[in-house]
Amino acid sequence: MQITIKLFAFLQDQLGPTVTVELDSPVTVEKIFSAVAKQSLAIKAVLENSRLAVNQEFVSENELEITPTDEIAIIPPVSGG
């Protein structure tokens, strides 16, 4: 299935506000990160320290049940406050 992923901060500077990737079911966090990693070598280190959010919540499990309306985002290390 086709998944559009929101990007922020350094990742957004490198790749723009979203990337769309094609993934086999079942979709996993690992597959998402691998697919995004292929887009640019420059983002490797940041991606290793990033987390996945689905519908604005961090996910901890690897296997995901994604529907087309779900909001997927990669959250690089935060630095607010």
Partner: protein
């Protein structure tokens, strides 16, 4: 009820303070984070904050909820956009019946915010531009 705002508008202390005032409370603790010039040898000129706004507001509401459930009141404001030296990046205010809770909860909010809330800074330092710390 908590008040949470992530916005490009400058943060003013006085109207946020007023949201914390209530005859139920005796202690209010406020943390204000400002743009600092020096971090060791690195000199900062300005900082741009960006946020995954909807998620950031949702995560902040989750941080505020247990404090409000225990009777406190939480007011959080975070800037986005470009800030200069001494500008306010974040305001965290917690009102409580007693001061010990106000201090504990305020610290809890800002500590959790710094780890769990999708807001990012891009620092324009005199030597180069840095994401995060």
């Amino acid at each position: 009820m908590h008040y949470i705002r992530i916005s490009d508008d400058p943060i003013n202390i006085a109207p946020l303070y007023r949201k914390l005032v209530d005859p139920r409370y005796g202690g209010i603790d406020i943390f204000v984070g400002t743009v600092r010039q020096w971090t060791g040898d690195i000199e900062t000129r300005k900082i741009t904050y960006s946020a995954y706004q909807s998620m950031a507001e949702r995560q902040l509401a989750k941080i505020a909820a247990p404090i409000e459930a225990q009777g406190g009141r939480v007011v959080i404001a975070h800037r986005t956009g470009t800030l200069n030296l001494t500008d306010i990046a974040v305001f965290v205010g917690v009102a409580a019946v007693h001061r010990a809770e106000a201090f504990k909860w305020c610290q809890q909010v800002i500590d959790t915010l710094k780890h769990e809330v999708p807001i990012w800074k891009k620092e324009y330092d005199t030597d180069k531009v840095r994401w995060g710390n």
